[in-house]
Symmetry: C2
Subunit: 256 residues, 2 copies
Amino acid sequence: MARVIAVVNQKGGVGKSTTALNVSAYMASFGKRTLLVDTDPQGNASSGIGIEKDALKYSIYDSIIDEVPLTSVIQKTIIPGLDIVPATLKLAGAEVELVSALSRETRLAACLEPVLGDYDFVFIDCPPSLGLLTINALVAANSLLIPVQCEYYALEGLRQLLDTIELVRRHLNRSLVIEGFLMTMHDSRTNLSQQVVEDVKNHYGSKVFRTVIPRNVTLSEAPSFGLPIIRYDPKSRGALAYEELAKEVLERGEEK
Amino acid sequence: MARVIAVVNQKGGVGKSTTALNVSAYMASFGKRTLLVDTDPQGNASSGIGIEKDALKYSIYDSIIDEVPLTSVIQKTIIPGLDIVPATLKLAGAEVELVSALSRETRLAACLEPVLGDYDFVFIDCPPSLGLLTINALVAANSLLIPVQCEYYALEGLRQLLDTIELVRRHLNRSLVIEGFLMTMHDSRTNLSQQVVEDVKNHYGSKVFRTVIPRNVTLSEAPSFGLPIIRYDPKSRGALAYEELAKEVLERGEEK
Ligand SMILES: Nc1ncnc2c1ncn2[C@@H]1O[C@H](COP(=O)(O)OP(=O)(O)OP(=O)(O)O)[C@@H](O)[C@H]1O
Ligand SMILES: Nc1ncnc2c1ncn2[C@@H]1O[C@H](COP(=O)(O)OP(=O)(O)OP(=O)(O)O)[C@@H](O)[C@H]1O
Ligand SMILES: [Mg+2]
Ligand SMILES: [Mg+2]
């Protein structure tokens, strides 16, 4: 059965899409059958892997709202072993549509259920909010990968995120755990980055991944070519860090 | 009557809070009576100006949902001439609560109406989404300041934002205009930054502010001290850029 990991943080621009996309690509390169689920109406994970969103017949919206089977929505990507459930702008309407819908928090979990046997890993990219799309991801996930940008504002938001996770665990998904906190966009030239890393390590100890993702321009260039970093520049510091991270996620799984 | 400017972009982490906070502080330093309205449940603009959120009796939530007069919510800040309407985590519930509320899109406009005569400028910081809190800001605003991070993903989101603005203009706020597109976190060492600036200028011409905000670590350090950049490091490149921007916003107003 697939391990379902949601990449979540309501703080904007902390590296959720970059992480979900690149960890997925490395997992697939290790021979693990991997599914990337994009639940952000911006669809950055989808375009980052080269999906032509205007040409799609179906996207995640059709599964969550109209119960189109996920097998009809799943697309192959340029990376062998990595499939994607793409998102388009249509998803922007789902937050409001879900508010008064039946089983509004468990729609994504229900969509994923029939395909879990086909994959080893499922990574879910979340939008920058704690609305119903993110709640759906928290309910569908076994564990959470929380990117934390090495900036002050990123620290502030963790309290709210952890409170929400606790609520979901108590009322909707008892087995939900934190896979780990991932430090992102670390700039070794600034004290701020170092202070934030130390602060998070002091608070969350071994829950913080050993791997730290450096700020590296190749990671922000790659999406404009629709390529994950493993294809765009596999020897870059950004690529090597995500490769390390994927190995660490694998290791943590074996420990359990 | 105050000019009401909403700082908006659903893409996360593009510099909305940093812009709203620092432009407001410089406006106040030019002798303009300025109000900063925080409509993001993360409350980054509020903590960035040193507000102790746990000690607040009222916040924007109380006005939007329970119609507490804004005059009871407004706080003075450390900057003479700059007041703030703070946001706290309580606001996170408002998105869902507003969905079925009466006049759900015009609540913020109604709250602001009685105090517009007390200010020359009102800047509204928005959350990274196009939900009801952002819609409320679009309805309350006269014009929009759109921060665009010098990154590929930031370009992708502009189409969706402009479509939403057009919808609001047609159905809720006929006089809404774009004040300008502000290029943020520009890194002169990378080609990517330059390409994105040229791309935005090609598309939006004179609507792009002359001022470009450089990536500058002092801007990300200042919030940890609860200080706007004018107090933290007024001679830094980040500070000088926001001073220029505030002058440009003033100039644009006089041209009309
Ligand atoms: N380690 C890194 N080094 C340099 N740039 C990065 C890095 N990680 C991400 N980026 C860039 O920073 C920006 C923000 O990253 P990304 O879009 O992945 O964050 P996000 O959390 O998914 O944002 P949102 O909250 O809008 O969904 C993007 O332009 C991305 O290309
Ligand atoms: N010009 C800049 N140079 C360096 N760092 C910056 C700059 N502008 C903003 N930052 C930092 O980048 C991060 C994102 O900025 P900010 O929080 O203002 O964006 P935002 O659009 O308000 O994010 P959100 O979408 O979460 O509301 C913050 O940690 C901020 O301190
Ligand atoms: Mg994203
Ligand atoms: Mg913000």
